[in-house]
Symmetry: C2
Subunit: 157 residues, 2 copies
DNA sequence: TCGAACGTTCAGTATTTACAAAACATTCGT
DNA sequence: ACGAATGTTTTGTAAATACTGAACGTTCGA
């Protein structure tokens, strides 16, 4: 994000990158997403993103694929031949949060295994795991409704 | 988690470690938390954790501090002198999720800046950011209630 | 058919970072 | 007061990984 871009835009892009880093994902992937959130037009090719970010084609190619796998961007049918255009995928953030919920579910299962590991132990020793188990159960029960709400809210626009 | 521990316990500990890695945190921190979730007694000293995990004191010391900062474990008043005991902090997972919400709030602010960045542009170009903004607003509005529910549920046990 | 444009893949590099080993500080028992 | 036990801090290292550059394959236009 160096060439022909405003300072504010650069800052925005970098902040999305830093957010990605906080989440344990490659910063460059975040930067690509940042570009595709404010680009005009919304769909951009690999090379265009390369130029904007002053980064190598290989990075962009690989990280774009990662973003596609995560459901945050998508490839659009290209008018120009030999050019792959990517854009932010509508509803992508919902997909993102569903994946987060998936991790919580995984953790839920782990705590279940932990509890069964302790069934010969006195109850007070199981309290820690029981607390986790109850929490994640509740989240797994309530969070999907929130996601559905978001889904509806988005589509009724 | 090698000495005097069952295979299942080792597996459990390692799974918490892997979960941490997924979340972008050091695996060793997750392993410590894993130990403190199933240990008997619940409170363990640095050296005890070292032995269980067959890891270095420095790792354990540093990662334990990280877990304290994150609100997942706490130091307990020690009976034995010169020994710092740590245990899982009741309600720690709620703190953890509050921090997640904090990241979402940060992202919310970033998108706001992104929108103001685009206010000279036509509306359809702002759609992407508006979608993100609306989503995170909603999460910020609804998620705290869920956390409070969890808090109450936990304390009325 | 040749060359140019574009994206992908592969190999290499440089940076980060998780972890360990050692030196250090502190506190307590003797 | 000394030495042992415990935790902290610092330094070093090995491994992971983010990123680059170059080679490659493909497709299209001239």
């Amino acid at each position: 994000m160096v060439v022909n871009q405003s300072l504010e835009a650069m800052h925005f892009v970098e902040d999305i990158g830093l957010f990605f880093e906080q989440m344990g994902l490659p910063r460059m992937a975040g930067r690509i997403l940042g570009v595709l959130l404010i680009s005009d037009p919304p769909a951009q090719s690999i090379t265009e993103i390369c130029e904007k970010l002053q980064a190598s084609k290989s990075s962009i190619s690989i990280m774009a694929r990662l973003l596609v796998e995560r459901g945050l961007i998508e490839q659009v049918a290209s008018s120009v031949p030999r050019r792959d255009f990517y854009r932010f995928k509508p509803g992508g953030w919902i997909v993102y949060m569903r994946q987060w919920l998936g991790l919580i579910s995984a953790l839920h299962e782990i705590t279940e295994r932990g509890i069964s590991l302790m069934d010969s132990k006195p109850v007070e020793l199981r309290g820690r795991l029981q607390e986790a188990h109850d929490m994640f159960s509740y989240v797994e029960q309530e969070f999907p409704a929130l996601l559905d709400q978001l889904e509806n809210q988005r589509q009724n626009k």
